[in-house]
Symmetry: C2
Subunit: 162 residues, 2 copies
DNA sequence: GTGCAACCTGAAGTCGACTTCAAGTCAAGC
DNA sequence: GCTTGACTTGAAGTCGACTTCAGGTTGCAC
């Protein structure tokens, strides 16, 4: 099954080449992330550039963006032609700082764990991990990947150990 | 509202002290993550140690564990008494390597972005980012945080640029 | 002994990112 | 021109981690 005709891909071909399911691609189209022309018989035909767009979406997801955020990011790139180096640099640096934040949070967490291994405590009053988890959890449900430490969460009346 | 009586906490008190909603605590109980005794009138009363247990759950979630995995992890710790230093060290080191993996993936992604900024390409054939995203996305739906690059995904018949 | 906040239950709803399903239509190779 | 696989649609289902709701009960201060 080589490419059937000129530059337009069927949804099946796009799926195969992008590694996504056709259902996902339809979903993306509904969200406005990608666009398809239609044959007289109402079947989708995707421009080859859609492959690039889809890849962009997946990459953005890996960085932690929601599809809604991806839509915004895509809106900033030129509509359906190749983005310039500048366009791309802006996006990529934004993503990098996002990644940096995520890494920083992970390292913070790791440092806490190290401390806890040292002390072996799991002490309610002393353990940094507890104080980390304590109030650190209002990031809502759903696709949280790694969130939120919340320093200085006010002095609690010290409880006895359990 | 000081602690009303001895060492048992109502669900409201536990909620306040742990920073979780009562609904979440009931949910945790249903999953078997925490345990409550009951008054004659069927109201929950939590041991003080539950606070520790809840903190453990939240900390584990931050590391990226699902509640189901947390249940497993909790099962490895002594039932409702303070875990020993050894118990804890085992868990914490496991978590650390998890964190390390996550960090590594993020750094991998970041490196790719840096490369892409350099080349400014968004080239279908050359850009590492595309090849990363290309087949990297079968981690199922839901709380994926940062996943999966999939090296060596077979040579595709090189497409022209879009 | 009464008022009311806090508690109880099970069922259903929510969110994001999809997948699955049913029932029908299109494209193209023979 | 017919068959068959790829496509179409909208609606509903899934998953994890909860929240919200409705309708009823308990605990405790006054």
């Amino acid at each position: 099954m080589g490419p059937t005709r000129h530059d337009l891909l069927t949804i099946g071909q796009l799926a195969e080449r992008s590694g996504l399911a056709t259902s996902a691609l339809r979903y993306y189209e509904k969200l406005g992330l990608i666009h398809a022309e239609r044959t007289t018989g109402n079947q989708r035909r995707f421009a080859r550039s859609t492959l690039r767009r889809v890849a962009f979406v997946r990459a953005a997801q890996q960085v932690g963006l929601s599809l809604d955020e991806v839509r915004t990011a895509l809106a900033r790139l030129p509509h359906d032609r190749a983005p310039s180096s500048q366009d791309w640099t802006a996006v990529a640096t934004a993503w990098q700082s996002r990644i940096d934040r995520q890494i920083a949070e992970l390292q913070h967490m790791k440092a806490k764990l190290t401390g806890c291994i040292g002390c072996g405590c799991l002490s309610l009053t002393r353990c940094a991990l507890y104080n980390a988890a304590d109030r650190a959890a209002e990031a809502g449900p759903g696709a949280r990947y790694l969130l939120t430490r919340d320093p200085a969460s006010g002095p609690e009346p010290g409880p006895r150990e359990a």
